[in-house]
Subunit: 140 residues, 2 copies
């Protein structure tokens, strides 16, 4: 199958192996961008076991302290985030482009964008609160 | 905790929340690079439920047809890979920088590097064959 020049949101590369076994091919810049606030938006690619997110934070954006069962990897592609980690938020780390922060299940964390930032997050399993839009803490 | 200027492979941001609940901070260029062949090397960041990999493929590198239970997302950061997907390898897709190919569990695939490529792979769960080096198909 050759690459199509037509605009597409979720192009599919169908394979014949079995019903419902389908490789799917995405271009990030064609995935729907969801705006949460003036400072925060995101794009999601969701699989069965994991979710990928491009998270766009403007300088000064604050992600309030929260935690979740989902294991999280935060890979900064552009910009920098200052994280406050742990129950008391006293553990601080600045994560810059080319760096990854691994957050195990249920570890509280908050973040502040030190610059305009492209944050690539991986969640395992997918964030159901992001899919069903019950993530009110991000929408204030 | 401030960023250290000392070289480190797996710097840890220790938090007090509970034993064994530790955020870990990585710089990709300080993670050990494992050379598989003259054309192929990789760096791994492994969590409990998922594994991240920077895979470096020189132009012309072939990853032979294989499959695995692990769900896979292939996000091309630089370069381009031509994938052949499905049992017969007849389904072809070129994945370029800024694009993602999602491969569900057990879908056979092979790949050819069309350029020198930085491929960012996410596997869920982690690839045990990559951790215990029983991935002979990649080492020929």
């Amino acid at each position: 199958m050759e690459r199509s020049n037509k605009p597409h949101l979720h192009p599919e590369v169908t394979v014949t192996r079995a019903p419902n076994v389908t490789a799917t091919w995405f271009r990030w810049d064609e995935v729907l961008e969801e705006r949460l606030t003036d400072l925060l938006s995101r794009r999601l690619i969701t699989g069965e076991r994991a979710m990928l997110a491009h998270v766009y934070l403007k300088k000064g954006c604050v992600v309030p302290k929260h935690h979740h069962d989902n294991e999280q990897f935060t890979y900064i592609l552009e910009g920098a985030l200052r994280f406050f980690v742990g129950d008391d938020g006293a553990h601080e780390v600045i994560v810059k482009a080319g760096e990854v922060l691994h957050l195990p299940s249920n570890l509280p964390h908050e973040a502040l964008a030190l610059e305009d930032t492209l944050d690539f997050d991986i969640f395992c399993p997918p964030r159901q609160d992001w899919l069903n839009k019950t993530d009110d803490y991000l929408r204030r």
